[in-house]
């Protein structure tokens, strides 16, 4: 399996699946200046993250450049079981995207 920009972990605990994801991304807000040139560093950040499981969207998130570099996202849902696949995808303001599939532990 090709290495993904997303590290996805999902674990069941008392019928609740806890999802934790870490995405490798610069998350440039567009407000920062390059210290050497004084020019603005163009905005480059993830705008949307979606997590799917069992044919359902469990979470969709809209992000801004105000989310830290290499964003960490965590949430919980009911209705998942150990061994089932779970998928997370992201898309950024430049149209780049990535997705990863993992199994619930």
């Amino acid at each position: 399996m090709a290495k993904s920009s997303i590290k996805l972990r999902a674990k069941v605990k008392e019928d609740v699946v806890e999802v934790k994801a870490l995405i490798k991304h610069p998350m440039e807000s567009g407000n920062r200046k390059d210290k050497k040139t004084g020019e603005k560093i163009p905005a480059h950040f993830i705008t949307e993250v979606v997590c799917e499981h069992g044919g359902k969207t469990r979470l969709s998130a809209s992000l801004s450049g105000g989310v830290s570099k290499n964003p960490y996202i965590s949430f919980k849902f009911k209705g998942g079981a150990s061994g089932e696949p779970i998928k997370m995808s992201w898309k950024d303001n430049k149209g780049e995207s990535d997705s990863v599939e993992s199994n619930i532990k």
Partner: protein, 158 residues
Amino acid sequence: MQTNIKRRTFLKGSAASGIMGAAITAGLATPQALLAEWNEAAFKEKDLNAAIKAMIGSESSEESDKIHIKAPDIAENGGVVPVSITSDIEGTTDILILAPNNPVPMVAAFTLGEGAQAFARTNIKMGKTGDVVAVIKAGDKAYTAKKAVKVTIGGCGG
């Protein structure tokens, strides 16, 4: 917490998987159709209330003690401020995280899917000391809570 992923090792591991990996898998990804529309207006709005309105359509929000914000009192690094929001409000569908003192107040908006619990956690940037504002949408109502976070520069403490 036992279930907590060790963030340091986690980061180290992901540093190894480079942009190339992302580029390769990007070709295989077909999530575009499923992704919600990014609300550009809400993420450009400089005014807190206008940003909330643009995101969830609510003119006003009611303060609620059923919203729990977990964030540090003092953040030594404004670049990474861990924020988690839990809502005890029945019918919570959306969780918004805002930082009014940031150039763009709307930081993140989570729309809960089927079975999702009213909880979201992420790390946000805070340019300076200020509030972290959480807004919860439940039905056609909006509720809000805030927590002050002091941002220190250079980690000298407060």
